[in-house]
């Protein structure tokens, strides 16, 4: 029996006090000093833990907020002195896209490797922009293909990266089609290079180790090869070197050992692919295309070229189109590209990798449904290391999360945990949808529900034209 894909995880405790959502404010002047103070009765024992934390502190630090927001102490205090508030430090985290809630759940997932579970149902808006404007379908009693939660060990998340033949030709019983090289990944998650403002050299070997632990691959500029450390030769199968437009080709000896390489889109794309293939015909070449104003159409054109194997589409870190005033979102651009390639009959030959704006595991599943074969992430991995998404490093100031000083055990563990828990959540979602293979999830928009379509079909018929977009 073949070995099942499995990622070993273990709990990796945070280094810093968590920035929780709630904080309790009390007005001690009027305190009656009750011997049975409600703080002692906290169900979660948070007050006692906070006291202990402050007692053990060896340096000045920020407030410690891990209040669970149950209001019990607030409502029970004999003098009514306590009030609950949103932690202002929590509210300041992130940007408009990477919300404080996303950051907090990423920290928790990286710590525990556990799928986040909570009670009381859904608390958020009805729908929203981007990935919040779609729902995935589910398996129901009449669907024969479902696997369910207990069939999850039979759900495959592996994907093939490379060019696939349109059909297989046989002469008598012999396969005559020349099969192109393919890279098989056990999970559709690649590790993308960090954007320049968020570059931490010490993370590179840790990211490599995390990709080795999870069986996936990381993208790294060829110029930063030296940062990989002494282990790189052992793990070249997990590395995708990225070559900028003017980056010279790596030595042929190196190219021969690689499985996948990524080049910047340029006027010489086809020529560069040819040069790389000349050194190593089994090398799969991905072309990185930035989704700017003309990005989608360039991808569609590029996909028609017979030498194109893999296209890596990249939006900004928030999933937005680059350099335009009213940007499209990565999900919509991917859908457009995917549909166009289906129409032109080349979709199954090309592999699409998507990056940008994929901040949660659910985004990964939705992005694949919209047409990507796999996704590549960077910022969620940085956040897993307790990055608060503040602008300090971007602006040249020291990182308040002290990411430069993290230990390999911590960094590798947290990033491995995050990839593992995303993989688990993908399975959870595919199990719920009744889909057995990640390859079948790709482009399955028929198994998704889109807000605009549902509104039009349901309320459009009843109430006319939608006027609020």
């Amino acid at each position: 029996m073949p070995t099942k894909y499995h990622i070993d995880t273990k709990k990796v405790a945070p280094r810093l006090p968590k920035i929780g959502k709630f904080g309790v404010v009390d007005w001690r002047e009027d305190c009656a000093r009750c011997h049975n103070c409600v703080k002692k009765a906290c169900v979660y024992d948070r007050y006692r833990q906070e006291m202990q934390f402050i007692h053990d502190l060896d340096e000045f630090n920020a407030m410690f907020f891990e209040c669970m927001g149950c209001f019990s102490c607030v409502q029970k205090c004999t003098k009514g002195l306590l009030a609950l508030t949103i932690n202002p430090q929590f509210e300041r985290m992130g940007n408009g896209y990477y919300t404080p809630d996303i950051i907090l759940t990423t920290w928790n997932q990286a710590e525990t490797a556990g799928i986040p579970v909570s009670g009381a149902g859904y608390r958020g808006p009805f729908s929203g922009p981007g990935f919040d404007a779609m729902w995935t379908d589910m398996s129901e009693i009449v669907r024969p293909t479902r696997d369910g939660i207990h069939g999850r060990e039979y759900i495959s998340t592996s994907v093939d990266i490379g060019r696939k033949p349109r059909y297989l030709a046989f002469d008598q019983r012999t396969l005559t089609t020349k099969l192109p090289p393919l890279v098989d990944l056990p999970t559709p998650i690649l590790v993308d290079m960090l954007p320049a403002p968020y570059h931490f050299p010490n993370l590179v070997p840790m990211m490599l180790a995390a990709t080795v632990n999870t069986g996936t691959m990381m993208i790294l500029p060829w110029e930063q090869q030296a940062l990989l450390g002494p282990e790189q030769d052992k793990h070249l199968g997990n590395i995708i070197f990225y070559l900028g437009q003017n980056t010279p080709l790596p030595p042929a000896a190196m190219l021969k050992q690689l499985r996948l390489i990524e080049i910047a889109e340029s006027d010489r794309t086809a020529q560069r692919i040819q040069e790389l293939k000349a050194s190593n015909p089994n090398l799969v070449v991905a072309v990185r295309v930035e989704l700017d104003a003309t990005g989608e159409e360039r991808v569609i054109t590029l996909a028609q070229h017979p030498s194109t194997e893999v296209i890596h589409i990249v939006s900004d870190i928030n999933g937005n189109q680059l350099g335009v005033e009213q940007p499209k979102f990565i999900k919509d651009m991917t859908r457009h590209i995917h549909t166009s390639l289906v129409k032109s009959g080349v979709r199954d030959e090309i592999t699409l990798i998507a990056s940008g704006g994929i901040a949660l595991a659910e985004h990964m599943a939705k992005e694949i449904i919209c047409g990507a074969d796999a996704i590549a992430i960077n910022m969620p991995l940085l956040i897993s290391l307790e990055c608060r998404f503040c602008p300090s490093c971007r602006d040249g100031f020291p990182c308040p999360a002290k990411i430069e000083g993290i230990t390999p055990e911590y960094g590798i563990g947290r990033m491995t945990n995050l990839i593992a828990v995303w993989h688990d959540q993908l399975i959870e979602m595919m199990g719920a949808m009744g889909i057995r293979e990640a390859r079948r999830l790709r482009g399955e928009t028929g198994r998704a529900l889109f807000f605009d379509d549902l509104e039009e079909e349901t309320f459009g018929r009843l109430f006319g034209k939608r006027i609020r977009v």
Partner: protein
């Protein structure tokens, strides 16, 4: 009835005679509104009144306030903590007893409570929670003076963007007692008993394990008082529920926890739970810490081991298999009506018509925004559609198939207020199932901590004896009775404004609705 069953089954000798009647004497619960004050010392209020050092302790504020917000106890020099939850806030300015202005030393100031920003969420806003508490306390819709905006949440879609187009004047004037809010649950004319519930809602399935036995019993007793139902969920059927058997739906879910022939034979409605809106495509979750000795005993499982119910029923791979399930129950319990609970996939209308053809009496659609004891966050909101779309789709499809009046369509998953109930019915449902609102009535604050550890810190969704002990059965029952009573009054008021004698007249009347995001220029009926 026996004849029809024999005809259906051909197995007369297998039909248990003893299930024609309820097995044990039933206990009545009075439908009487009584004050059920909050159980916490400091009820959260919309407005705060601050008393400065300028206060001369003259007691004028306590004298003028008809609500008795200010408390100056005889024999005490200082004021006790004010009862701010009964303060009507700035709307008092129009009266001659506005304490802020009446204070001779201008020592009082009023501000909106900043904690409201912390409470609640998009679906259940702070004011909706406060209003639900108020209804559970008094049995009346909150007076307009309180200024609660509670008819809609802040989700920005679905029910929260739908409004009724009330006529300027009702077409006919109707008294409250002329308006019927009851609905029937058996429309199949299959020889099984008719079941009528007095209000177009019943309580949702919450298992023992996910909630405390006091919570379950409070729901059951309130359901008895209102001649409606509550559901056991999938955690088994407590012995203490027997006196309320006639108002309990027992659930057969994929985990089959505590499901026995005896429990199925107790009740008038049996529900098959194929899926639930809060985690569509996944089975029930009860995490290890909540599997206490009592829960493990009831479910016949192991103490402290997480329970994940399978998904789906592995004995059901077609509508024919589903029919086999329903036939099984029909032969075990001769009087039971059958409900099929499903969630809302893309092809929900096919599921609904399939369930009907398999013989169900009630199709129960559970939409994606419902509450639950525990669900993976990725399953919430991301899988299956909100209920608002599904109701319209299923109602219209069943109409087109010519079977709409042969099946009862019940919906749930984000029904929070009587206004949501009316909107769901206007979209095409016969009635609804509610769950979270009942828990809010018991003091839930939606902190979302019900899933693990000792469970709910407020003693509702927990089986921890110490925590659960903070809710008393009489109080819990009364709070839900009061909530139901206030809801019924609100629903009657809506029907009154439309001049409707029965809530069934509202079903499918989308022409009475408008959507704030649309041009609303389509003539529909």
């Amino acid at each position: 009835m026996v004849d029809s069953l024999v005809k259906e089954s051909g197995f007369n000798e297998n039909l248990p005679e003893h299930t024609i009647e309820t097995l044990v004497p039933q206990v009545a619960v009075t439908r009487e509104v009584k004050p059920a004050p909050p159980r916490y010392r400091n009820e959260i209020a919309k407005y705060l009144i601050r008393r400065s050092g300028e206060c001369a302790l003259c007691g004028k504020c306590a004298q003028v306030c008809p609500q008795h917000v200010h408390v100056l106890k005889p024999g005490y020099k200082l004021f006790a903590a004010p009862h701010l939850n009964i303060c009507i806030g700035p709307s008092c300015q129009q009266t001659d007893h506005y304490c802020i202005e009446q204070c001779p030393n201008a020592a009082l100031t009023m501000v909106e409570n900043p904690m409201l920003k912390v409470m609640g969420d998009y679906r259940w806003t702070a004011e909706m929670i406060l209003a639900t508490w108020k209804m559970a306390e008094t049995g009346e819709p909150p007076a307009p003076e309180y200024g609660y905006e509670y008819e809609t949440g802040a989700s920005g879609g679905g029910f929260d963007r739908l409004r009724f187009k009330f006529p300027a004047k009702p077409p006919i004037e109707l008294r409250d007692d002329e308006i019927d809010t009851s609905i029937v649950l058996n429309r199949r004319n299959d020889g099984r008993p008719q079941v009528t519930i007095d209000v177009p809602w019943y309580g949702g399935g919450m298992s023992f394990g996910s909630v405390s036995n006091v919570t379950q019993l409070s729901k059951a007793r309130a359901a008895t008082a209102f001649n409606t139902f509550t559901c056991t969920g999938e955690g088994g059927y407590m012995e203490r529920m027997k006196p309320y058997d006639d108002h309990i739906i027992t659930q057969v879910a994929t985990g089959l926890f505590g499901v026995r022939e005896e429990t199925i034979q107790r009740v008038r409605i049996v529900e098959f739970k194929y899926a639930q809106g809060a985690k569509p495509g996944l089975g029930g979750h009860l995490l290890a810490d909540k599997v206490t000795p009592a829960v493990a005993r009831m479910r016949e499982t192991v103490l402290g081991i997480s329970l994940f119910s399978p998904f789906p029923f592995h004995s059901v791979y077609s509508i024919e298999d589903h029919q086999k399930h329903l036939d099984w129950i029909k032969h075990i319990n001769r009087r039971a009506l059958l409900s099929t609970k499903v969630s809302t996939p893309n092809d929900v209308e096919m599921v609904a018509v399939g369930s009907y053809s398999a013989g169900t009496h009630i199709v129960h659609l559970d939409g994606g925004y419902g509450g639950t004891g525990a669900a993976p966050d990725i399953a919430k909101k991301n899988i299956a559609s909100p209920i608002e779309y599904a109701i319209v789709k299923v109602h219209r499809f069943l109409e087109a198939e010519g079977v709409r009046d042969k099946v009862t369509l019940i919906t749930s998953g984000g029904i929070r207020t009587p206004h949501d109930i009316a909107k769901a019915i206007a979209l095409g449902a016969d009635g609804v199932v509610v769950g979270t609102a009942e828990l809010i009535a018991l003091g839930c604050i939606r902190c979302s901590r019900c899933e693990s550890g000792r469970g709910c810190p407020r003693g509702i969704a927990t089986t921890d004896a110490e925590l659960a002990g903070s809710v008393e059965l009489e109080w819990g029952t009364q709070r839900i009775i009061n909530l139901y009573s206030a809801w019924r009054k609100e629903l009657v008021a809506i029907l009154q404004r439309f001049g409707m004698r029965s809530v069934s007249e509202l079903r499918g009347r989308t022409d009475l609705l408008m959507h704030l995001d649309y041009t609303n220029d389509v003539e529909t009926r």
